[in-house]
């Protein structure tokens, strides 16, 4: 029997109460009060479509757009501190010197389209945890550390444990993501960023971001982060290990890409099967490594 209250097509949000936060403390207090019932409204570029479809139905929306205190970029020694409300568009030009600024810029060009980048936020993207979101992959690549606030205080979360599954993070319902700290890449780090999407601006079917340190033509520390292939962004750790100490050649890159394609737990959807995504991982990882070492 298929009985129920069901219409397959809805396009206006369900009712909710709206609170405009005037401070982080106030936002967090609302979260403390409403818990799972509440959702944070940052840029809204992913949340509002889901609400329009009534796939997301928060009873309470806490709007943090007025919080200028979360709209900052600061360089703190070797760390880039990014306030949660920094908009995607900010990264279209390098926000810091060296490879860190460059890879942020490379990724930013693929985040949706201009009007989306104007509203969407760095913190919102991490908290939303779309496995194909550029910032999630970059945060993972750069071993970011995330700071949160809640009524009971604050907490730092290493990005490695942050993304749990699709749209699910380590954030507690009363926790607000306030900052991402990106340890800056050493100036000599080589970077590559490749993605494949059906159309310009679409979420990638797969993306690969790499950061390599190499000396005398040999790969030292290697990092490879992948997006869009699984239920969360991933580091291809076996491939990273396979690459370390190897000569920085096409052959090594090809081998590492093959390891990456095998090690991931790929998922399929209407745009491509798990096998197809593995093919993309193989191609894009190799290309990102070649891109990193080409210049």
């Amino acid at each position: 029997m298929a009985a129920g209250y069901y219409t397959p097509a809805l396009m206006k949000p369900a009712p909710f109460d709206y609170h405009q936060a005037r401070s982080v403390a106030e936002a967090v207090a609302h979260l403390g009060e409403y818990g799972y019932e509440a959702k944070i409204l940052a840029g809204g570029q992913s949340l509002v479509p889901a609400m329009n479809f009534r796939l997301a139905r928060p009873a309470v929306l806490v709007d943090i757009n007025p919080l200028d205190e979360l709209d900052y970029l600061e360089e703190d020694g070797d760390t880039l501190r990014i306030g949660a409300m920094v908009r995607h568009v900010t990264f279209e030009r390098p926000v810091t010197e060296g490879p860190t600024g460059r890879i942020l810029t490379m990724a930013a060009q693929h985040v949706g389209h201009l009007p989306i980048r104007i509203r969407g936020t760095f913190g919102g993207s991490l908290a939303h945890a779309d496995p194909a979101a550029e910032w999630c992959v970059i945060a993972l690549l750069l071993d970011a550390e995330l700071s949160t606030r809640s009524p009971s205080g604050s907490r730092d979360i290493p990005v490695a444990g942050f993304f749990q599954t699709v749209f699910t993070t380590a954030l507690e319902p009363d926790e607000l993501l306030v900052e991402a700290r990106l340890p800056k890449l050493s100036p000599r780090t080589r970077i590559g960023f490749q993605q494949f999407s059906r159309r310009a601006g679409d979420f990638a079917l797969t993306m690969a971001a790499v950061a390599l340190e190499s000396d005398d033509g040999r790969v030292g520390n290697a990092r490879i982060a992948l997006g869009g292939v699984s239920d969360r962004p991933l580091r291809a750790s076996e491939a990273e290990q396979a690459l370390e100490g190897q000569p920085a050649t096409g052959e090594s890159f090809r081998a590492a890409a093959e390891v990456a394609a095998r090690e991931i737990d790929a998922i399929g959807d209407i745009h491509g099967s798990a096998d197809y995504r593995r093919d993309l991982v193989r191609a894009l990882t190799r290309r990102a490594l070649e891109q990193a070492t080409a210049a």
Binding site: M11, K12, P13, A14, P15, F16, D17, Y18, Q20, L41, G44, Q45, V48, P49, M51, N52, F53, L61, D63, N65, Q109, H113, L114, P115, I116, I118, R119, R199, A200, G201
Partner: protein, 160 residues
């Protein structure tokens, strides 16, 4: 829905102040259209892909279907109704007319506002940049050929 759940919101649109009572869930696009009577802003998908609802918020092109009216107090909002200067069309409107940059006209307000917001900050874009920006919105009639041509020409005219 009882009146109690509605919020009173003052919106600054096209240099005019609109005082409206809306539910928090009413999107900015619906508010502009249904509460302010500014139906030039169109809804083609209501999930942020097509861009027909693009308007300028504080001078920047945004999707008005992905914002709520209650968020927009204090913003300077601009819609297609304000693009022309009285009877004198904006150079972007002129260029669309002259170059057949529209057919059914449904996507047109979104493209005009996207282009207006972009060109005001980037007066001299090259073709690759224009292609990238104009790929933000969907058009089903023109194959984009004359939209690109129109915006290219408008940029030239606006640079003077």
């Amino acid at each position: 829905m009882s009146e109690r759940t509605k919020a009173e919101v003052t919106l600054a649109v096209n240099g005019r102040s609109y005082r409206v009572r809306v539910e928090p869930r009413r999107t900015l696009a619906d508010t502009l259209r249904d509460d302010c009577g500014l139906t030039g802003t169109h809804l083609g998908c209501e999930h942020g892909v097509c861009g027909a609802c693009t308007i300028l918020a504080d001078g920047q092109p945004v999707r008005s279907c992905l914002m709520f009216a209650v968020q927009c107090e204090g913003m300077d909002l601009r819609t297609v109704e304000d693009l022309a200067d009285g009877d004198r069309l904006h150079p972007i409107q002129e260029a669309f007319w002259e170059n057949h940059g529209l057919q059914c006209g449904f996507c047109t307000p979104g493209f005009l506002m996207l282009a207006a917001g972009y060109l005001e900050q980037n007066p001299d874009p090259d073709d690759d940049e224009l292609r990238a920006v104009l790929s933000s919105n969907l058009c089903r009639c023109t194959g984009y050929q004359n939209i690109l041509k129109s915006v290219r020409q408008a940029a030239e005219v606006m640079r003077g």
